[in-house]
Amino acid sequence: MLDTAKADDTLLEVNNIEVIYNHVILVLKGVSLKVPKGGITALLGGNGAGKSTTLKAISGLLASERGEITKGSIQYHGESTQNRSPNDLVRGGIIQVMEGRHCFEHLTIEENLMTGAYTRSAAEAKAGLEMVYTYFPRLRERRKSQAGYTSGGEQQMCAIGRALMSKPETVLLDEPSMGLAPQLVEEIFSIVKNLNEQEGVSFLLAEQNTNVALRYAHYGYILESGRIVMDGDAADLRENPDVKEFYLGVGDEGRKSFRDVRSYRRRKRWLN
């Protein structure tokens, strides 16, 4: 079923980009990837691989962290995004959910969500609000609380909900499942799937929860130390022995217990 939703044309294309922070720290060393229209693409990789950096490069948020794209290009709908400001890109349909929540602390949950609809009309915003509340009933309960005082998971829901408020064409999700209860993780991904199938929203998600990510994604890229080391259909990736061992926690003998992890581990094959 996953394969049927396969993309026909490319929506977002990242071509061999290189990113440097603060003029000296080279983080991405030539990353290329494609997000097809109506697809769910997963970006996997360990800590510090550069997933968040890639997403920020796409959404134009790099500049605010003193990072810059020094090589390569990013194209959305075939047009370069390089000189477009983040708000312009949001109007153009790309929105990013940043890692680490980033809610507006002093605004209430509802105001937070409303800012998500900044680019839309009041009526649309109202409808969007209803939608988000049906997705996340917990947010409805806490809608009058200042976001700064809500729990980690509530903030995460708020951040995701806020992005959905802009009725995006493409969503860049940075670790959506982080800090969410298992039940909610499944829920979030089914929302993703829903939006993808029913509204044709495309997703690029950076995820650590590889297990779930590869279950819902169509295509996956694996990023390590600033380079794409592997890519393929999600289904294929799930069968790859390295991915299995390092990202899914399934060894040759089935799922390993966290209690029995050995100190010594096999080297990843793509490293040599």
Partner: protein
């Protein structure tokens, strides 16, 4: 298997000894204005065990840790540490008692290097007066070097040698979590509170983290209370689990007991876990 009396010790199936109750939380109620974050909750943590706290988002887990280390002051209820009722104390005094923790939203000192961050964990172990530190040579330097040696062991242990001198603000999320663990460990705590230490990690990294936690528990006999949403981890490494649901306690027992509890499945897991 139900645990024995508060004062007894017992041995786990994998051969570790769990001591008597170290910290007891009694009838805690915590309210923020109209929101009741914790409602009349009691449970205990035993010497040497790994105690997991789970529950849906907003259930009050982090608030519980905040109560234990004195950042929140509950309206009702008591905390007993090693059998003694704890009076009103400031968080730093509680830290000096030997309770350390990590935070859900990383709370590292962003402007400092990894090494310095972990060294701050040694704060309660360093005693040289300010004027000696100003002179540096002598006691202050000696103390500094001794503690540095200790911290280097932690750095080795957590395998973060390469980022020793890097400002932590630049580190990727997962490494920051590791540094935070290092900082808590540096305090040589008797009780270590971990708030979602593995959020935002992939399996490989979670395995590492689990190993660190188990090793700390094993080698130093540190008691650990841990909040985690990854049920795999909780099942595998914890001795007992307490389940919160919107301020109430809905389950308490071994992982196996808890996971079979229909109320827990309903409120938290969604589907029965394998």
């Amino acid at each position: 298997m139900s645990p024995p009396n508060d004062t007894d010790s017992y041995t786990t199936p994998d051969g570790r000894t769990i001591g008597p109750v170290m910290l007891e939380v009694k009838n805690i109620t915590l309210r923020f204005g109209g929101v009741v974050a914790i409602k009349d909750i009691s449970f205990d943590i035993r010497e040497g065990e790994i105690r997991a706290i789970i529950g849906p988002n907003g259930a009050g887990k982090s608030s519980m840790l905040n109560v234990i280390n004195g950042f929140y002051h509950p309206q009702e209820g008591d905390i007993l540490f090693r059998g003694e009722k704890r009076g009103p104390m400031k968080p730093f005094q509680i830290a000096q008692q030997g309770i350390a923790r990590t935070f859900q939203n990383i709370a590292l000192f962003k402007g400092m290097s990894t090494l310095d961050n972990i060294m701050t964990g040694r704060f309660t172990h360093m005693k040289a007066p300010v004027w000696k530190q100003a002179i540096w040579r002598g006691e202050a330097e000696r103390e500094e070097i001794e503690n540095r040696a200790f911290v280097e062991r932690i750095i080795d242990f957590l395998e973060i040698q390469a980022i020793r001198k890097t400002p932590v603000g630049r580190l990727p999320y997962g490494l920051q979590k590791r540094v935070e663990l290092g900082r808590a460990l540096a305090a040589e705590p008797k009780l270590l509170l971990l708030d979602e230490p593995m959020a935002g990690m992939n399996v490989e990294e979670k395995e590492d983290m689990s190993r660190f936690i188990l090793d700390v528990n094993d080698e130093f006999g540190t008691t650990i209370a841990l909040i985690e949403h990854d049920m795999g981890v909780v099942m595998d490494i914890s001795d007992r689990v307490v389940v919160l649901d919107y301020g109430r306690k809905i389950g308490d027992g071994t992982p196996a007991e808890v996971i079979a509890n229909p109320e827990v499945i309903d409120a938290y897991l969604g589907v029965a876990h394998d």
